[in-house]
């Protein structure tokens, strides 16, 4: 075996989450009343554009969630017996599929900082200048050439601009036919499915009159392709977003941070969801002593300041890791365990809000006729809660899950800054910002790490916010009434 698959805790949970989403989609497709609100989401242009952007982030995150350890090349002298595969030694560092795909930019470290697309380092150093005619070289202070950035250029001063422009142009030239291909395939699929004339469909598409906002989706896709392909081509020869203090490519760091952000944003709610749903419904339905105990429990937990509870939890974990080093053979497994722990602690601090909402809604629902009818028929309490109450509060759960996502992504950066976030060895937006912050005082300023973290985070969080808003508008009956009133008021005016 050339590689040893490693399933980290968070990987397992991510794939569990994927399976759950797939099951949910399958379930929704078969139920008309559940399909309707999702159909409303699909008709919102902002939400669908956001979904395209989110899909890119999710693909990056998933590629980064398949981990393994590569086999080391057999040391000279040992027998390379293919049949006895047990003796293969594996590398200590855990890699992911994304690492392999990005190997060309990940494995080209410079010595230290360099600006985006630079060919020379950011700071002056002593450089050897070969003497003329084989004489002894002289040493001068100058900006040294980078080892990899623009290494293919013979005269960087003269050629760099033209080369960058040409490569970028090539990327654009590649993006346009690719985009056209996707659009044509889309039109072909839509017209054949709905028996439409393709010309009429084109027309409807470009005037934005299709039910699913294909125009917005295609424009977003075009912008993404125009951005991604030139960057991909440029990154073969340059550090497109520069390098950080130890010379790592910032583009690579930003892409690796995506998984950390996605894990924190999704697993935190996933981990605590069963508790908040179960306790919330139980408190609302059973009332009495159960209600008092559960209320007391969540009020107590929520009155501890979140950051401090997280800090206390992480300190506890640090002690645990120190005292049980044998449980974590690789640093990746240690960092991953800390990430999972952070999700759990964040979940503990954030589940109480949802629990309170569910309790309130259940209190309302339990007085409705259909619940009373079920009680009169002698349906057991658990069955009423799971068959009659739970499906009718799911929209609240769904809204909470999508609304929490962006807040958690932002919280990660702050917590990592405080020092109670992810493991310092784990690449995340928080650790990137934290490292870059110390370079604020430099002259000229090292701005590219901060700027990259800013752009990536803004894209992710903004897309998540826009999508979450559409989901909330589609699922929350109260908001829907509000919108109808607004439309009405507008028609009056």
């Amino acid at each position: 075996m050339p590689l040893l698959p490693i399933i980290l805790w968070t990987d397992a949970l991510i794939f569990l989450l994927l399976a759950a989403i797939a099951g949910f989609v399958w379930y929704v497709r078969r139920h008309e009343h559940l399909r309707a609100p999702w159909w409303r989401v699909a008709q919102t242009p902002a939400a669908m554009s956001a979904l395209v952007v989110l899909a890119v982030f999710i693909i990056v995150g998933l590629l980064d969630s398949v981990h393994f350890r590569l086999a080391l090349p057999a040391a000279p002298g040992t027998q390379t017996d293919r049949t006895a595969g047990r003796n293969v030694a594996y590398a200590v560092d855990v890699k992911s599929v994304l690492d392999l795909l990005l190997a060309s930019i990940a494995d080209r470290p410079e010595r230290t900082y360099s600006a985006p697309l630079a060919t020379h380092a950011y700071a002056k150093e002593m450089v050897e200048r070969p003497g003329t005619g084989g004489g002894p070289g002289t040493q001068i202070r100058d900006y040294p050439r980078l080892k990899y950035g623009g290494a293919h250029l013979r005269d960087p001063q003269r050629d760099r601009q033209a080369d960058v422009l040409l490569t970028g142009f090539r990327g654009v030239a590649l993006a346009i036919p690719l985009w056209l291909l996707v659009s044509i395939m889309l039109v072909a699929a839509c017209t054949s499915a709905e028996q439409l004339a393709s010309r009429a469909f084109w027309h409807a598409l470009w005037s934005g009159k299709t039910e699913v906002p294909w125009r917005a989706i295609l424009i977003t896709l075009a912008l993404l392709l125009l951005l991604v392909l030139p960057v991909a081509l440029l990154s073969r020869h340059y550090h497109v977003l520069g390098t950080d203090k130890v010379g790592l490519d910032v583009l690579y760091l930003s892409l690796k941070s995506v998984r950390t952000a996605l894990v924190i944003g999704t697993l935190t709610t996933l981990v605590m969801l069963p508790f908040s749903v179960l306790l919330g419904i139980m408190a609302g339905y059973l009332r009495g002593v159960v209600d008092d105990i559960i209320q007391y429990f969540y009020t107590t937990l929520s009155s501890i300041p979140g950051v401090l509870l997280i800090a206390a939890g992480v300190l506890v974990l640090q002690v645990y890791i120190e005292t049980h080093p044998d449980l974590f053979p690789t640093s990746a497994q240690r960092a991953d365990f800390r990430l999972l722990w952070l999700c759990i602690i964040l979940g503990i601090t954030s589940w109480t809000g949802l629990c309170r909402l569910l309790r309130g809604e259940t209190l309302k629902l339990r007085e409705l006729e259909y619940v009373q009818a079920a009680q009169a028929f002698g349906v057991s309490q658990w069955r009423i809660m799971s068959r009659h109450i739970l499906p009718n509060v799911m929209h609240i759960v769904l809204i909470a899950v999508v609304m929490d996502f962006s807040g958690l992504v932002l919280a990660e950066a702050v917590l990592s800054y405080v020092g109670v976030g992810v493991d310092p060895s784990m690449i995340s937006f928080g650790t990137m910002i934290n490292a870059a912050r110390l370079e604020m005082g430099r002259e000229p300023m090292v701005w590219w790490s901060l700027a990259s973290a800013f752009v990536f985070m803004l894209a992710l969080v903004l897309a998540a916010n826009l999508f979450a808003d559409a989901v909330r508008d589609a699922f929350d009956p109260r908001v829907r009434v509000g919108i109808r009133k607004l439309r009405f008021a507008r028609a009056e005016a």
Partner: protein, 325 residues
Amino acid sequence: MSAYIVRRAIYAVFILIGVNLITFALFFKVNTPDDMARLQLGVKYVTPEAIAKWKAERGYDKPLLYDGTATGRHKFTDTIYFEKSVEMFRFNFGRADDGRDIAYEISTRMWPSLALAVPVFLVGMLLQITFALMMAFFRATYIDFWGVVLCVVMMSISGLFYIIGGQYLISKLWNLVPISGYAGGFDALKFLALPVAVGVIGGIGSGARWYRTIFLEEVGKDYVRTARAKGLSEVVVFFRHILRNALIPILTGAVVAIPLLFMGSLIAESFFGIPGLGSYTIEAIQSQDFAVVRSMVFIGSALYILGLLLTDISYTLVDPRVRFE
């Protein structure tokens, strides 16, 4: 009404006891003093004697809950729980790892925290309400639409970037105020101007959007239709009827945050070098000073519970229906 408040106050005390037990369990049971000593001393220098000395210095060398060797009252008072956790109710927090009295530190560091947090809270709320009011007044027009877009973009930016951007632009590029630091008296103004501005701007996005939904909820109510039917102008309806009624949920919702202003802001204080309680907490977390973290958890919870109590009281003041429940 007083019976209701007394009932809530008794409930608050019980919650505070619960918090106290949770923090005790977290800091002494899950994470024993031996573990803390090992972490603090560093793995290399751990010897049983060093751990015993570390524990004795901090008074952690006693039984957790019950001391069988002592007599009478001391069976319970001569324990870690009594000395470290119960004493907190008397605001006796013990000493930090650097030997300073935590209660004294808190009483001096409270003022810079308040000097930053109170203006941010007041100015921020005023701006958020104004902005939300504008969007709600021009609802379903382009002003509303782009206002909401601006809010969503602003709330999608991490608070860290507001601070970093503000420091870069105002302090470094334009040299208007110092990047960080603090001084007492009127000198504090020039150190506080930027943190307050950054704090206010950072909060506008989510705050204004939230208040806008409250205003819009109010717009759809029956009394508004009645007011319009009476022939009142839109401006009068909006500022005399809607604004007043919407302020009730807004103000009662804000009450819970008031006591927590004492805690200061973790991030802003440490970025701007303001010697408040927020930066005190961060320093304690980073140097793993368990005594300080424990005290701050207790104080923070106590203030939050106080906020809940104040919220209950404010509800009974503005909404008579609560009193009769």
